[in-house]
């Protein structure tokens, strides 16, 4: 039983990282009707930018993180980066996997019979903090409400004088920060590599669809579900099938509930 709980907790931590990425997918979709297939690369770039600040500039991790947020906001708010960026990093930086310092201490935390790593606990806490902060911003500030208004009815928002382009820009900037946090959390495990974005981007995309592309809470559920089931599949069936979990869930959802687990069917006028 303790093993099962341990696997679920650890899977939830991995899932939280997918969820952060998936949240970026759903936010962008809702605000601009855009599916950002460069989302994985959005995670890969900050990993290398942070490495630069840590290894070359000799800055501590938290300073590197903050600077990377700024750089990501400037660099990432552009679509269509996927292939170009990947090849640029491969040719111009390195094709090798680079080690990355974890923001959390090594070691295990005993929770009753369970033993969980500080990294998993820290990942869950940080991801939770980001999600709660984002929800507070969207629901408790006038700009957050305006972003929701744009997502719900762009035409009405335009006529009412809401600056739609600015709201979409804010969404991209938020997405950039989500990507940097995801990079910070995932890179110590996956290592910084030019193609690290492929797997994360694809899983986050599946997670967003599994949870419901038009619901931010759907992205969270999808991410956690993928993370937990991957862990259980790896432990109880075979690690070889682990990578196929997201795809399998995605197919099941597309066939039986195409709007996603928490998604809502939307009518579109033509």
């Amino acid at each position: 039983m303790a093993d099962l709980l341990q696997l679920i907790l650890s899977g939830t931590a991995t899932g939280a990282i997918y969820a952060l990425c998936a949240l970026g997918f759903t936010l962008l979709w809702q605000a601009s009707g855009t599916i950002n297939f460069a989302q994985g690369e959005f995670v890969m770039i900050p990993a290398f930018v942070m490495l630069f600040f840590i290894n070359t500039a000799g800055l501590p991790l938290w300073v590197a993180f903050l600077l990377t947020c700024l750089v990501a906001m400037l660099l990432i708010a552009t679509l269509g980066l996927s292939i170009g960026v990947k090849q640029l990093v491969k040719a111009g930086v390195t094709a090798q996997a680079m080690p990355f310092e974890s923001p959390f201490p090594d070691g295990l935390l005993a929770l009753g019979a369970m033993k969980v790593s500080y990294a998993d606990v820290g990942t869950l806490l940080l991801a939770g903090l980001i999600v709660v902060g984002l929800q507070l911003f969207l629901n408790r500030t006038v700009t957050g409400r305006a972003m929701q208004a744009v997502a719900q009815n762009t035409d009405a928002a335009k006529v009412l004088g809401i600056n739609v382009q600015r709201m979409v820009l804010y969404t991209f900037l938020i997405n950039a920060v989500l990507a940097v946090v995801a990079a910070l959390l995932v890179t110590p495990t996956y290592l910084a590599k030019f193609d690290m974005g492929e797997s994360i981007g694809l899983k986050a995309f599946y997670a967003a669809i599994i949870g419901g592309f038009n619901q931010t809470r759907g992205a969270l559920l999808g991410g956690v579900l993928v993370g937990v089931l991957e862990n259980l599949m790896g432990a109880y069936v075979s690690p070889a099938y682990k990578e196929g979990v997201a795809l399998m869930l995605f197919l099941i959802v597309i066939i039986f509930r195409p709007e996603g687990l928490l998604g809502k069917t939307e009518e579109r006028k033509v």
């Binding site: 629901n139 408790r140 500030t141 006038v142 700009t143 957050g144 409400r145 305006a146 929701q148 208004a149 719900q152 009815n153 035409d155 009405a156 928002a157 335009k158 006529v159 009412l160 004088g161 809401i162 600056n163 739609v164 600015r166």
Partner: protein
């Protein structure tokens, strides 16, 4: 009276089809002008051309002496021009109160200030006044999408008036509204005209509504202005009757 809104020789063609064909009209400060005409007569296309939502083929629009032809809805909104649509344009997941606040937030404070401002942006009191006026208090906390069509229509109209616009173009405000609400709606518009002092241009098929609300009525047929004047005069115009009833 100096014209507030002036539309000069407005034309909009889709290939060989002339949706709007040389319409000229003027609206004075505080004036309520009705636009009637059979379906397909170009009324909504005229609205869309005035408001920069489609590019007119030719013609010009002046608002308070400024050429606003082709300006974006955002630029027009900043100049105090608002509109409603035939179809509902509310933010379905936001509450009624938040819909009203969202409708005016762009006009409150500075951009950095708004970024982390409280959700009501200092507009809560004004929103509550509008909620009271539109008799939506009992549903003000509910998501707009959960309300009846008529209630959503009222929210839609209240949103257009939240920024206290100088000119509002209302496209079929009575469409789909329960007959018992139509009189209420007319009274509301009269009240808003008195209190806010803005000018309204109203497209409507409900003749009783338009005749009681608008001191000046324009009838459009096949993209052209067929008749204009006081409602009784337009209503009794033989060509107008033929356009509606056929020869």
């Amino acid at each position: 009276m100096t014209p507030f809104l002036e539309v000069k020789e407005m034309k909009k063609a889709y290939g060989a089809i002339k949706a709007v064909d040389g319409v000229t009209l003027s609206v004075g400060p505080g004036e309520i002008v009705g636009v009637i005409g059979p379906n397909g007569s170009g009324k909504t296309t005229l609205f869309n051309s005035i408001l920069g939502q489609i590019k007119p083929t030719s013609g010009a629009v002046e608002f308070c002496g400024e050429d606003i032809t082709g300006m974006s809805p955002l630029e027009l909104s900043r100049r105090g021009v608002g509109r409603t649509f035939q179809t509902l344009q509310v933010f379905v997941k936001l509450s009624v109160r938040d819909n009203l606040i969202a409708a005016a937030q762009e006009f409150k404070g500075t951009m950095p200030g708004r970024l982390f401002a409280k959700p009501d942006a200092g507009l809560g009191h004004h929103a509550d006044e509008m909620i009271e006026l539109f008799r939506l208090k009992h549903v003000s906390h509910l998501p707009a999408g959960s309300l009846s069509y008529g209630q959503q229509k009222l929210i839609d109209i209240a949103m257009a008036f939240m920024p206290t616009p100088r000119l509002v173009l209302l496209d079929e405000p009575c469409a789909g509204v329960n007959p018992s609400l139509v009189d209420q709606l007319r009274e509301l518009l009269v009240e808003l005209n008195k209190t806010q002092g803005g000018s309204f241009v109203v497209i409507e098929h409900n003749m009783d509504f338009i005749m009681k609300l608008c001191p000046h009525v324009i009838c459009m047929v096949e993209g052209k202005v067929l008749a204009e004047g006081p409602p009784a005069q337009v209503q009794s115009n033989r060509q107008v009757l033929e356009a509606y009833l056929g020869n």
